[in-house]
Symmetry: C2
Subunit: 332 residues, 2 copies
Amino acid sequence: MDVTIYEVARRAGVSIATVSRALRGTGPVAPKTREKVLKAVEELRFTPSRLGVSLAEGRHAANGIVFPNLAGPYYTEVLLGYEEVASELGRSVVILSTKGRSRVHDLVKDLAGRVDGLMVFGHTVPDDLVAELVRMRMPLVFVSREPLPGADTLRSENTTSARALAEHLLGHGYRRFTFLGAPIATGDDVDERWQGVRSVLGTAIEAVPTEHYTVEYGYQAAKTLLRAPARPEAIVCSDDEVALGALLAAEELGLAVPDELAVTGWDDIMAARHARPALTTIRQPMRELGARAARALDELITGARDTPNHLVLTTELVLRASCGHHPQEEPK
Amino acid sequence: MDVTIYEVARRAGVSIATVSRALRGTGPVAPKTREKVLKAVEELRFTPSRLGVSLAEGRHAANGIVFPNLAGPYYTEVLLGYEEVASELGRSVVILSTKGRSRVHDLVKDLAGRVDGLMVFGHTVPDDLVAELVRMRMPLVFVSREPLPGADTLRSENTTSARALAEHLLGHGYRRFTFLGAPIATGDDVDERWQGVRSVLGTAIEAVPTEHYTVEYGYQAAKTLLRAPARPEAIVCSDDEVALGALLAAEELGLAVPDELAVTGWDDIMAARHARPALTTIRQPMRELGARAARALDELITGARDTPNHLVLTTELVLRASCGHHPQEEPK
DNA sequence: TGCCTTTCTGTAAGCGCTTACACAACTGAT
DNA sequence: ATCAGTTGTGTAAGCGCTTACAGAAAGGCA
């Protein structure tokens, strides 16, 4: 930064405190004095240093967000909602992806040093570091994670919608099911979805893992599954990406969806809508999730609230062609 | 921040300069002294303040990125590539979306105060502000924008691939074309695509605008177009989202793609691959774009280079079912 | 005119860290 | 033992900004 507040003060013939007051409106400044200051600011094209302001104020006016990675539309949509609200609240957004990164501790610590609060996806920050951030009284909002003492959590509803999905599939007459994309951790989103469908389908459904929740891994696992002698009538997938992989496998093996095999997803990402057949899925209010997280974090940062909230946003069963024929087909 | 370097120094019985040297490895420190310092750091759980470090060093160790918005997978993929390389280079990433925002000047200025350099998509930052950032010697890399003096630009190739696409469509035997999603600005990416196809197809193709480059607007424009008496044989779309909209319109009007109408896109986003028929498109190396931008910016920030570069990354024609039948169908 | 109140302004002390420079201590060679 | 060179350490000056507090100036009223 070239120009400092000292040069502005010199040019305007006032003290730096007066420059600060004139620019920030934090105290009385005579109209004539203000004019002199603003004139000097314009002539010198002065912009206050973000660093100086933050250090002196003791606040960053920025929010952090930690996610596994951006691959997959789910995270993007949440980020979009988050960034929009953060910006409205006058905060910058600093992002960090942790997947495949070494030194996650250092990365998160560095991030924490730049922001006034953090939104964290699931378990992307190690638990010991979470404990330390809590100890440091860093405002935290967790998304897609089971309730955690001392921090806000925010997630989409899984169990009820999973049950509704399972019941809908029973209504189509299917009797043999596979849950593709077995949960990795107890209590996370996918585990809740699994528990939900299993509570309805019981022993009629078994879980098959995919190493990751991606199209490619979903495709591989589905191809193996569909080549086996005892094929399910319907595959309930952990998420839309795995479901898209299952659709590809079915297509390749010449299985007609939904006539020979039904497939469902979760999330309602763009590609789910444009696949053919279009995927039946559960719509997650992803942008709303991000927006709500940013608002919750604001409350914690400003001290408007200091007791943790645990929010669950409703999800919605979206019927499309992939699970079977419906009397009145979805328009889009 | 609770613990400062002064408390560490007091606990270790050394000066703050020694603490700094021991932690940063910037000068000689006796082994015994280093141990004392590290012990104090551990006991007090000291983390250096990012603000203090940045102010004293005169550098942020962070990169900024300005984009219109995150809606649409293109920007996300670029961001992903950017963030990955930035992190490898030890930098945080601060994001800003400008679409629909008031006070863009202030937002960009604030962002500039937090980072060592900026990557900017196209024209998302007003030209007068760009000029000011250049004057301030803020390192800048522009993506998807015509070459600009004094700053790096980086874009994907448009014209050659557009010509290859047009020639491929001619090879299918089509003779009446529409370019859906007319360029908004001369010289931008879509304009180059339009110029490319027009240089091959001449008066056989006309441009039809869509208000925005989104699925919804593409759908509306395509529906209007396909209802008119003189229907094109092939629609060349500005990008994949508009093309997905055109596919929806064709489906709704009962037009078989590609038998009755061919459709092509641009970008090769996920949904383009999963649509049915799968979209013929031009693959943009979006992650590579982001990664290269981060590297170029690093060179500018570190002073490894001070003359602007203008890079063009190659794109690739991806043949799928939407433009017609090919002797050997694409596997996926 | 004098007193009181309000408005305005400047000084100094931080916020947390880095590091140039001066000096001390140590080591090795003569 | 002395000298020269190297290693190690502390002090002080910043980096850029905010603001509490003290004092000055201005205005209004008796």
